[in-house]
Symmetry: C2
Subunit: 544 residues, 2 copies
């Protein structure tokens, strides 16, 4: 009897790590009180710290740090795909201007703010930091400034703030990837250049647009190809879900290959394909996609936080009190200032303003996470790299533990507006739709190219061209109201069947019984609803 | 703008191969006539041959062959897991004796038959094969004798023969893995030994039991651990499906690590965990497990056949007409003889005999596939390895193309009994259950330890101990009849909801309307059914 561990080592260890992560998750939930006080991300980092300590104690050398390649190629994409696929598109596009302002201008503000002020600290002779150049400080600023989508998602999913606030912080954390990629690579190449010409700086500015818009283009083209492919999967339902994953992942990898923003690409891909793919694939495939995506991103998320903890233990830190403390302080100050200034401008152009409570949560919710951590390890070797690693680790632990654990009590204390729990009623949906058409008409008449104008044009382009190419059974698609109705009916039917009432008792009026009880008798049946919707849509279009 | 392909190469190429496989599958189904004439496996090998030809033409060197590690560690487990998880347990256990006889004795018969007769061929001077020793011939016999589960599954899923015939061939192809592993490793180590003692031969015989039973033990222990784990996933439904995959894969890897039969382990794990896991996890998790497993195994299957085709092209073949032709002939003859002889004995002990038509299909369905192919590449280097590779390739292509393409017409021609399409009715289920209890009682009284006796004991052990440990909500579990009823009701409810009839028209009697119309009025409601079942079960037990 012999043991052949070598042979199975790679898959065996991967499976064991995933198993550990999953079991840790189960463990937390066995005690119901724990997750309600401490965010799961903190608990997972804590488990990682213990694991790292054990490995360190047993081997007497630093435990393996999280490989940046593994993080960027395998752990990050599932989380971002999940985020993009289930992104609520309405609030996202309604606030896209504000989100972009925070993501682009805000991140640049933070990078330069943190970079220059840390350079100022380095000039103090007593701190013995004079060998850290301005460029190195800016490089460090570029990696520490970006808010991390994984950390934000982990914390904000548990505190249930209102939809707008959530999308502002979360959207920023996703879209700032383009800025981070550009600035990080720019400063890194500047560090290796002998002299920097002004041409290089301008090329850097140009790159912003290339990296961001290139990501969007790559993502959309893969997304539409995915939708087109699912037109032909009617006879082999079994591999339908695969295409959603394959094309999104390819869009991410392609973007990374061309040094574009992979996160932006996968999000565009997911948002672009979603409505067409969902119309083409079967309901079971849809369930599989949905639950598998959630499962996968949850596992990735868990692994990332555990590895963060494991990687913290070890001997790759150089401790310098002033530099590390001032990094934390500057991260907080510059973000707060940035949010205040940018929101001031945003509020001047909007009726629905961002309140000061919201501003506080936006500033406070600027958590750092595994992206910074992976970027700092990717730095070229230079003599202060270990200082940067230490500072990054402290910032991440500070934001995840201190901010992550206090944000929920703060949200309660400030009475920040929460997310509404119930789905919009049919009446609300009709009104929202009606107002959309109305505002599009007003914008059209007044010659203002606002969001409703563009949304309307896009809808027109979609129904005129895209749907014909990308959908299998092309006829006037069911409106979201009818779909909602069908979903509620299905849910109700299953509940009835489970209670064993179907067909045994007298006929029960089931329509929308789930949401309201008064409406029961006078709600129209689906044909009437469909008709109503069609009249609304047709008449509002015809006027123009 | 630079391209960084190196960075993303590994995941990019894996994704592209999977994409190619999936698109090929879609392509075949676009023309409805094609898959009904040619089995998909043949088409996929054909695509692989073309791909291999292109790669060979472009690079002017042999395309990469399928890595045996990749095959055994990543491609095979999903297929076997799928097979084990959805194995119909009743026909499997009813025919376990026959299956084991075919798998163990039949495979040994084939190995020695093919090995010795090929050795005879090698003695003919004109063929110039005198340097191939008896041991090498036996080693070759041990890898070429085993029927391949992947190939069998691919062909038999399309021809829909009756359940018993299917389980005989398919069960044999799964369980012969233990025999193949033992004999292959035995002969390979004999090849490297200077002298062979009789002790080694006896140790080899002992290993059969260790490898087979060890696999079962490893599988069952992981299966029960998986079931136990899902007891605690109530609060985190999202990672439930993961445990099914993780534990099964771990059982496979652990078995491989200890040189046990991984296939046997993963099948025992899947069959052991299934009923408990299904009771513990949510319905959505169950759908995810089911569809993801099907998807994954379908993709693995596709990749295997494509790679088989790709690997065929190249310069690693040594052609020797007599050896290759006689290999094909001996494979056919020895299998036919083996099935005839073994079935003769089987039929003497059974009332429900295997007809001569069935015997023909069993013998003819002995397809070889990727397992042989991977094993032949794992052979230690010796001067006739390329001849063995060529012979294996020809046997695989012959069985998959010639036998795979003609088996469907033959099944039609012989009018082999087909699978019944409809699910058993409630009446049938009650009768089957009643007979089970009756036969268990008769066996008990007559002191005969037959299958019903053991099944009854196992059921008792299960409900007395296992269920209490492994199930979350332990109360008398619902019988399969009630579960079937609930499933039908749910289906019916969804259909009603989709037709928009729910709650609008008068109450329709829905119970079992899907299967029969006459029963409608007098069928009992679920409580009555439950009661009926309980009375049946209790009284039949109490008598003893």
């Amino acid at each position: 009897f012999s043991l052949d561990y070598q042979h199975v080592q790679v898959p065996f260890e991967i499976t064991l790590w995933i198993m550990l992560a999953s079991l840790a998750k189960i463990g937390f939930h066995l005690y119901n009180k724990l997750p309600s006080v401490v965010p799961e991300s903190c608990l997972l980092i804590f488990v990682g710290l213990i694991m790292g300590g054990i490995i360190y104690g047993l081997n007497d050398r630093s435990p393996p740090v999280m490989d940046s390649d593994i993080f960027f190629l395998y752990l990050l994409p599932p989380i971002v795909l999940d985020a993009g696929y289930f992104m609520p598109s309405r609030p996202f596009f309604e606030n896209i201007g504000t989100i972009l302002l925070y993501a682009v201008v805000g991140t640049i503000w933070n990078v330069f703010g943190i970079g220059f002020s840390l350079y100022g600290i380095c000039q103090v002779k007593a701190f013995r930091l004079q060998d850290v150049s301005l460029l190195h400080n800016l490089l460090f600023g570029s990696l520490i400034a970006a808010v991390d989508p994984v950390a934000v998602l982990a914390v904000f999913e548990e505190i249930h703030v209102n939809e707008k606030l959530h999308i502002l912080v979360f959207g920023e954390s996703l879209l700032n990837d383009a800025v981070t990629v550009v600035l990080y690579k720019l400063f890194r190449s500047f560090c290796e250049m002998p002299t920097i010409k002004s041409v290089d700086v301008f090329a850097g500015v140009g790159k912003f647009f290339v990296v961001g818009l290139g990501g969007v283009l790559v993502g959309l083209s893969f997304g539409f190809t995915a939708a087109f492919t699912t037109r032909f999967t009617k006879d082999i339902r079994v591999i339908e879900p695969l295409f959603v994953f394959l094309y999104s992942y390819l869009s991410y990898l392609t973007a990374e290959m061309f040094h574009l923003s992979g996160i932006v690409a996968i999000i565009s891909c997911a948002m672009g394909m979603k409505r067409y793919v969902e119309a083409n694939i079967s309901l079971k495939s849809h369930t599989t996609v949905k639950y598998f995506m959630k499962m996968w991103s949850s596992v990735s998320d868990t692994l990332i936080f555990i590895f963060l903890g494991v990687s913290t233990i070890g001997e790759n830190h150089e401790w310098n009190w002033p530099y590390i403390c001032f990094t934390v302080i500057f991260c907080l100050i510059w973000r707060a200032l940035g949010v205040l200034v940018l929101t001031f401008f945003v509020n001047r152009f909007h009726v629905n303003t961002i309140t000061s409570k919201d501003q506080f949560i936006i500033a406070y919710g600027g958590l750092r996470g595994a992206i910074c951590f992976s970027l700092v390890f990717l730095l070229p070797d230079f003599h202060r790299k270990k200082l940067f690693i230490a500072a990054t680790t402290v910032v991440i632990l500070f934001t995840v533990f201190v901010q992550g654990m206090t944000i929920r009590p703060l949200v309660d204390l400030l009475a920040v507006k929460r997310k509404r729990e119930s789905a919009p009623t049919v009446g609300e949906q009709i009104h929202i739709r009606f107002l959309d058409h109305l505002l599009a008409g007003i914008e059209d008449i007044s010659g203002h190219w606002g969001q409703y104008y563009w949304k309307d044009k896009l809808e027109y382009f979609n129904s005129k061209y895209l749907q014909k190419i990308l959908l299998r059974e092309y006829d006037q698609p069911k409106s979201s109201i009818v779909l909602l109705y069908e979903k509620l009916e299905r849910k109700h039917a299953i509940e009835l069947a489970q209670a064993g009432q179907l067909g045994h008792g007298p006929a029960q009026p089931s329509f929308l019984a789930v949401t309201t009880d008064q409406k029961l008798e006078d709600t129209p049946n689906p044909d009437v609803l469909d008709n109503m919707q069609e009249i609304l849509a047709r008449n509002l279009y015809r006027i123009r």
